[in-house]
C-alpha cells in the first residue's frame, strides 16, 4: 500500500466546531482522523461572537419548548419540527457539557452561566425578549473552538492539517472514504474509511459583502453536488443586518441585545415601524430587509446614503468595553470609528447558509427527497441542512446546532464503523482527482481567477442577495454560465508543488460557482417570500404551495433537477410572522 493511502474507521472533514465536536465522540469509539484544509484553530467558528443559546433558565424563566417555538417561527415555519425539538432539548446538556470541558462562560453573581438577550428569542411564545444566549464576552465562538481543540489534544485526536478534500468515495451507493490534496507537498492522498463526515462550514464568500472568511467557499457541498447527490434549501441564505460598511465584518447582534439601536439617515429608529414589539431585536431577515428598503427609499446615512447606523452611544461605556470589546475594536481598527462616541456605519452582510447537505437528526446524509440515506456518509454544522433553521436561522442557534449535531454525528459514525466493513475501492480511485489537478495546471491561462471570482461575488450580491426577482435571477443564471466558461479556460499559473495556494483558490472557486448555481436555480423556482428568501415579485409567503424543502441535484447528463420534500410539522401551525 502506498504511503498516500490511509485507513481509518471514521474520517471527519473539517475542524470547526462541528468537526471537532464529532471527533471527540467518534475517536472514543473507533480509529478516527480529522482532515482539514486549515489548522483547526483557524476555522471560522472562532469568529462567532454573540453566544450559544439554551433554555438554562439561569437568569429568568425559560423552557426548551419556548426555544423550539421561537426557532420554528424565526425559521418562517420551514424547519422540521422533530429536528428542532431534538436540538432545543439537547441544548441544555450541550452547554453544560462545554462548561465542564472548561469553556469560560461569563457568570451571574451566583457563579452560574450568565445569559443575555438575542434576536427572535422570546418568553412564552413571543411575549417579550428572553435571556437565553450563553456567552463568553463577544468571543463565544473563539472559546468554543479553543475548548474543543483543547479536549481533542487531551484525547490525542489525529489531525491531518492543511489537507484539502477533493472528492468523496462512493461505491455502489455506499461511502468508502475521501480523496485529499496535501497543500504542503502537492501530493494526493486516499483516506479509506467506513464512515465519513463533512463539516466544512459555510459558503458566504460567493457574495461581495460577507462576514465569512476567505476560506468559506462551500467545498463540502460542492463535492456532494458534483457527485449527483442533492443539496437542500439552497435559496435560504441569511444576510445579517450589521456588517461593517463596505467590509462586511460582523458586529454581533449582541450589540443590539445589550441595547444598541439602528437608525436611518434621519436619525430615526426605523425598526419601530417594521417590528413594533421587539424592534431592533426582530429576526435578521426582517431587519436586513428593513435596512435594504430604508437605503433603497433614500433614507440611508452618509454622503451616498448607502448605509444605516448602529448606535451604541446610549449604552453604559463600561458595559460596551466589558461585554463587546472585540466588536468595538473592529469598528475602531477597520473604520476608524469609536462606537462609544459615534454610531457605526453598517450594511447587511452575507452571513449564514441555512441550506446545505441534507441530513436527518442522526446527521446521516440523505440520498434524495424521499429520505433514504447514503450509508456511511454524515454531515454536520453549517454545511449541513437538518433542517433546524428553516428559512431563517435565529442568532445563537448555529453554535448550538454544530455542537448538538456534531456530537450526534460522531456517536453514530463510531457505531456505524463498528458494525460495518470497509468497502472495497478500485486501485485508481484517486484518478479523476489527479486528472482534475493536472488539467488546471496545464497550458496557458486566459485570466486570473481573482477576476472571475470578483464577477461572481458582484453578480450574486446584485441579483441573489437580500431582495430577488425572477428577472434578476434569470440574468444571474446567464452570468453563471459565462463564468463557468471563463473558469474552464483559466489555469493555475503557479506550477509549484509546495504550498500552492493559487491552486487551492482555483479549486475553491470551482466549488463556489457550482453551488452558486444551485442557489440561484432553487431561488428562481421558489415563487414566494419566506425567511431569508425574499422575492420582490412574490412578496407573500404561500404555505399552500411552498411549505416544502427544495432538493436540487445534478443528473448524469449535467442537467439539474428539482424535487421537494414536505416539512415535518409538529406542535406549531404556520401563522403570520409578526414581532
Amino acid at each position: 500500500m502506498s504511503d498516500n493511502v490511509h485507513v481509518f474507521d471514521a474520517v471527519i472533514v473539517g475542524a470547526g466546531g462541528a468537526g471537532l465536536r464529532a471527533a471527540l465522540e467518534a475517536s472514543k469509539g473507533c480509529k478516527t482522523a480529522v482532515v482539514s484544509k486549515m489548522y483547526p484553530t483557524r476555522s471560522h467558528t472562532g469568529a462567532a461572537q454573540g453566544g450559544m443559546c439554551a433554555a438554562l433558565a439561569n437568569v429568568e424563566e425559560d423552557s426548551w419548548e419556548w426555544h423550539a417555538f421561537d426557532t420554528v417561527k424565526g425559521g418562517d415555519f420551514l424547519a422540521d419540527q422533530d429536528a428542532v425539538d431534538v436540538m432545543c432539548k439537547d441544548a441544555v446538556e450541550s452547554v453544560l457539557e462545554l462548561e465542564r470541558m472548561g469553556l469560560p462562560f461569563n457568570r451571574t453573581p451566583e457563579g452560574k452561566i450568565d445569559q443575555r438577550r438575542f434576536g427572535g428569542h422570546t418568553r412564552n411564545h413571543g411575549e417579550a425578549a428572553v435571556k437565553r444566549a450563553c456567552y463568553a464576552a463577544d468571543r463565544t465562538g473563539h472559546m468554543i473552538l479553543q475548548t474543543l481543540f483543547q479536549q481533542c489534544n487531551k484525547q490525542g485526536v489525529e489531525f491531518y492539517n492543511e489537507f484539502f478534500v477533493l472528492d468523496l468515495i462512493i461505491q455502489g451507493g455506499v461511502c468508502g472514504g475521501i480523496i485529499a490534496y496535501e497543500i504542503a507537498t502537492g501530493e494526493v492522498h486516499t483516506f479509506r474509511a467506513k464512515s465519513v463526515m463533512f463539516a466544512t462550514g459555510g459558503y458566504g464568500k460567493m457574495f461581495k459583502i460577507t462576514s465569512n472568511a476567505h476560506t468559506l467557499t462551500g467545498d463540502g457541498p460542492g463535492v456532494v453536488y458534483r457527485k449527483g447527490l442533492p443539496l437542500e434549501d439552497m435559496e435560504f441564505f441569511q444576510f445579517h443586518p450589521t456588517g461593517l460598511y463596505r467590509l462586511g465584518i460582523l458586529l454581533s447582534e449582541a450589540a443590539r441585545g445589550e441595547g444598541g439601536i439602528l437608525r436611518n439617515g434621519d436619525g430615526e429608529r426605523f425598526m419601530e415601524r417594521y417590528a413594533p414589539t421587539i424592534k431592533d431585536l426582530a429576526p435578521r431577515d426582517m431587519v436586513s430587509r428593513a435596512e435594504f428598503f430604508e437605503i433603497k427609499e433614500g433614507r440611508g446615512a452618509g454622503p451616498n446614503k448607502d448605509y444605516v447606523l448602529l448606535d451604541l452611544t446610549g449604552i453604559d461605556p463600561e458595559v460596551v468595553e466589558a461585554k463587546l470589546p472585540d466588536i468595538t475594536e473592529f469598528a475602531r481598527t477597520y473604520l476608524d470609528v469609536d462606537p462609544l462616541k459615534e454610531p457605526v456605519p453598517t450594511v447587511p452582510t452575507a452571513h449564514y447558509a441555512m441550506g446545505g447537505i441534507p441530513t436527518n437528526v442522526n446527521a446521516e446524509v440523505l440520498h434524495s427527497a424521499h429520505g433514504e440515506v447514503v450509508p456511511g456518509f454524515y454531515s454536520a454544522g453549517e454545511c449541513a441542512c437538518v433542517s433546524v433553521h428553516g428559512a431563517n436561522r435565529l442568532g445563537t442557534n448555529s453554535l448550538l446546532d454544530i455542537v448538538v449535531f456534531g456530537r450526534r454525528g460522531g456517536l453514530n459514525m463510531a457505531e456505524y464503523a463498528n458494525n460495518n466493513k470497509l468497502i472495497d475501492v478500485p486501485e485508481d480511485v484517486a484518478k479523476s482527482s489527479e486528472e482534475w489537478l493536472r488539467s488546471i495546471t496545464e497550458g496557458e491561462s486566459t485570466e486570473p481567477i481573482a477576476a472571475i471570482r470578483k464577477d461572481l461575488q458582484e453578480e450574486m450580491w446584485d441579483k441573489a442577495s437580500v431582495s430577488r426577482t425572477d428577472e434578476g435571477l434569470g440574468q444571474a443564471l446567464g452570468t453563471l454560465d459565462s463564468l463557468k466558461e471563463r473558469y474552464g479556460k483559466a489555469r493555475v499559473k503557479d506550477r509549484s508543488k509546495v504550498f500552492n495556494t493559487e491552486l487551492v483558490e482555483h479549486m475553491e472557486l470551482g466549488f463556489m460557482i457550482d453551488i452558486a448555481e444551485a442557489l440561484v436555480i432553487s431561488a428562481k423556482a421558489r415563487t414566494e417570500s419566506r425567511g431569508g428568501h425574499y422575492r420582490e415579485d412574490h412578496q407573500m409567503r404561500e404555505d399552500e404551495h411552498w411549505l416544502k424543502h427544495t432538493f436540487i441535484n445534478k443528473t448524469a447528463d449535467g442537467d439539474t433537477r428539482l424535487a421537494y420534500k414536505p416539512v415535518t410539522m409538529g406542535r406549531y401551525e404556520p401563522v403570520e410572522r409578526k414581532y
Partner: protein
C-alpha cells in the same frame, strides 16, 4: 491613492537556494489592510506568492508576519499606519515552508507541552455547571483571548536562540488554566514550566507583549506564572 512599495521576502524550496526580496508597487487606500495588498499582489501581479490567511479581521491567527521589523497580523495593520515602503518577512525562528508560510509544528509542540486543557480531580462530574464567581472568571480573562498566532513567541529573542524554550504563547495558555478556579492541574504545569525550558528562560524583553494582536499582557502573564512557580501558590 498613495503608491506603496512592498518588499516581500520570497523563498520556494523547489527553485531557490536562498531567500530573496521581491518588490511590488501598489496603489493603496489608506484604510487597506496589509493583507489586501498581499492579495492584490497574489491575485493580479504574482500568483506564486504564498501566504496563509482566513478570517481577514484578526481572529483566526493565520497571518502573523514581520512588517518593517515587528510582528503583526497582515489583516490587522492598515496602510495609514505604515510608511510608503513596507517590508514583509515570515515570522522568525521557525522553518520556512515557502515565502511567508512557516512550519508551525514547533510552536504547537510547545503549546501542547503545557497541557492546555482543563484538569480536574472530580470523582464525579457535576450534573449542572461548575460554579465560578465573576471575579474568579475575570482572573484569567486576558489569557483566554489567545488565538495561537505565534506573533509573541516568534518575536522573542530567547526563542530565536533556543528552540527548546516553550515560548510566550505556551506560557500564556498555561496561565489561562493555572489561574482558572475550576482547574486543579496547576502543580503539574508549574513543574513543567519550572524546568530548564520553561518560564524562567524569559528575560522580560517585552517584545511579546508589544507583538500580541489581541492586546494580551503577555509579559505580565509570564511574570505571574513565574511567581506562582516560585511560591507554588495560585
Amino acid at each position: 491613492m498613495p503608491e506603496v512599495t512592498l518588499k516581500v521576502l520570497r523563498f520556494n524550496p523547489e527553485t531557490d537556494a536562498e531567500s530573496h526580496f521581491e518588490e511590488y508597487r501598489i496603489d493603496a487606500n489608506p484604510m487597506d489592510r496589509l493583507l489586501d495588498l498581499l492579495h492584490e499582489i497574489k491575485w493580479y501581479q504574482d500568483a506564486s506568492l504564498a501566504v496563509r490567511r482566513s478570517c481577514g479581521h484578526g481572529i483566526c491567527g493565520s497571518d502573523a508576519v514581520v512588517v518593517n521589523g515587528v510582528n503583526r497580523l497582515a489583516c490587522k495593520i492598515l496602510v495609514k499606519d505604515l510608511p510608503s515602503e513596507i517590508t514583509v518577512e515570515p515570522i522568525r525562528g521557525m522553518p520556512v515552508i515557502r515565502d511567508l508560510v512557516v512550519d508551525m509544528e514547533p510552536f504547537f509542540a510547545g503549546y501542547r507541552a503545557v497541557k492546555p486543557w482543563l484538569i480536574t480531580d472530580d470523582e464525579h462530574e457535576p450534573t449542572r455547571e461548575r460554579i465560578q464567581s465573576p471575579e474568579e472568571r475575570e482572573r484569567f480573562d486576558d489569557t483566554t483571548k489567545c488565538i495561537l498566532c505565534a506573533a509573541c513567541t516568534t518575536s522573542c529573542p530567547i526563542f530565536w536562540s533556543d528552540e527548546e524554550y516553550v515560548g510566550p504563547a505556551a506560557i500564556v495558555n498555561a496561565h489561562r488554566f493555572i489561574f482558572d478556579s475550576r482547574d486543579t492541574g496547576a502543580a503539574e504545569r508549574l513543574q513543567i514550566l519550572s524546568s530548564s525550558n520553561g518560564a524562567f528562560k524569559c528575560r522580560t524583553a517585552f517584545n511579546c507583549t508589544e507583538a500580541c494582536p489581541r492586546g494580551i499582557k503577555v509579559t505580565m502573564a509570564i511574570q505571574e506564572v513565574k511567581q506562582a512557580a516560585l511560591y507554588r501558590s495560585v
